[in-house]
Subunit: 230 residues, 2 copies
């Protein structure tokens, strides 16, 4: 929708990959709608995934014993987080919608994207107990997990060898986004792009573009255990 | 048990943390039993979590389009993975038991440990479709996830706000370890150590030491959907 701001957090090493193409489709389609789109291209940025003392500028709150969560929270209050984190937080703050675009790595996101979650969603910025879940600090924002797999759709069913794909979404959608108050749109999944025809892949990109056209009319999922495990 | 080899993959920034103490208890207790114990102290090693072209020494299999999974598999065959990966794979190969010791970050492991999974468990080394799950290449090994939380035990129950703690274990235990053929021992969880008394924490360390004394007699869990979602 014209005027809406979208942040795409994108984790693929190769621009020519299907993930790269899916990201491009989103940039193009949302751009056409008049949205302003920002991309955090994590590998290109060489984004740091490790949560360390380097994230805190200047002195520590407790230099006797390093507690990452406490130090990040205190540094956020003081405006003393490292520049890369301040930058990402600004992008998140401005965004109406976060799209996470990645290949599934070990039933989850690649480590570089997990590091984005670990480091950017600092206490005080994204949540502040008991301001979590429905009162998380990023409420009024939307998130959408868009990913590709190696496994087939059949493998990721309730009776399949890898279980329902929704089981995998629980930590990411509920544990991270919902915890921060973000409402979650239905995930977008391209199964096994490496093992289908060129034609099928083109179709996958079309389906994504198609969905994006009416994305702003979608209702968030009901992000509770029933959605995942019913 | 005397003679058994244990690899502890440990992810905490602070040696004085409860995770640090839990790791030390395991080193000590297993050492007393005559096990040989190796620790991969990921932050101290500044372990690289990002899956990139740097993991492949020399020329690429396909330099037109970088596919990490394919390149890592081919490099493994040729003996051309980067030294840090070869080193970790040697430790895994020799181990009878892998213990993962970490604080829960966003319903999962910290990014630095996720990177260990992404980069070390290469196709051809840890799995090779259809050699996965019960015929994964690391069969005859055991794994144990030992972690601490911020949330309380009550939050992590079926009716609790964060859902059953077992939901979180599905990607890690089933999606990673079981996929590679590794049998999984019951997880070891210390809930909310920051919010209990010093005395309670000492008790937590004792309980862990106690469990380790009879660990080799334990049966693996039945790592199927029933265990997680029943
Ligand atoms: C460490 C690791 C862990 C993994 N764990 C899991 C797991 O737990 N579960 C699981 O299911 N899978 C897993 N996988 C597999 C992984 O999810 C897939 O390899 C990945 O999702 C494929 O997406 P891609 O973008 O990399 O594909 P690509 O290989 O880039 O895409 C496939 C093809 O699409 C082509 N393409 C790109 N753009 C277009 C276009 N515009 N039109 C037509 N074709 C195009 C590309 O040229 C390519 O040939 C894992 C892989 C790794 C490396
Ligand atoms: C990015 C991020 C994401 C997070 N996500 C989640 C989440 O999704 N879910 C969740 O539940 N939690 C989450 N947390 C909280 C996190 O899991 C806890 O902070 C962590 O598990 C606590 O473990 P620790 O070892 O760091 O504790 P510490 O703070 O090191 O331990 C508590 C106390 O134990 C003391 N201690 C150490 N050794 C001993 C000893 N031998 N005897 C007695 N006392 C000792 C220490 O001195 C310290 O005071 C998150 C935290 C961060 C930073
Ligand atoms: Zn939810
Ligand atoms: Zn399993």
């Amino acid at each position: 929708m014209a005027g809406r701001k979208v942040l795409i957090i994108y984790a693929h090493q190769e621009p020519k990959s299907l993930n790269g193409s899916l990201k491009n489709v989103a940039v193009e389609e949302l751009g056409k709608q008049g949205c302003s789109v920002t991309v955090s291209d994590l590998y290109a940025m060489q984004f740091e995934p490790r949560a360390t003392r380097n994230d805190i500028v200047g002195c520590l709150h407790n230099s006797e014993e390093f507690n990452y969560g406490v130090e990040a929270r205190e540094a956020y209050k003081r405006g003393d987080l490292s520049d890369d984190l301040i930058e990402e937080q600004k992008k998140v703050q401005e965004a109406d919608l976060l799209i996470f675009q990645f290949p599934l790595y070990w039933f989850s996101m690649p480590a570089i994207m997990k590091g984005w979650m670990d480091r950017v969603l600092v206490e005080g910025f994204a949540h502040k107990f008991p301001d979590c879940y429905s009162s998380g600090l990023l409420k009024n924002k939307l998130a959408l997990f868009s990913f590709t797999t190696g496994g087939s759709k059949e493998m990721y069913t309730k009776g399949g060898i890898s279980g329902d794909i929704r089981y995998i979404l629980w930590p990411m959608q509920h544990g991270i986004m919902h915890y921060c108050g973000v409402k979650v749109l239905a995930p977008h999944i391209c199964f096994a792009p490496e093992y289908v025809s060129e034609e099928n892949r083109k179709e996958m990109l079309l389906v994504w573009a198609q969905r994006l056209k009416t994305l702003w009319k979608e209702e968030p999922i009901n992000c509770s255990p029933e959605w995942y495990f019913k």
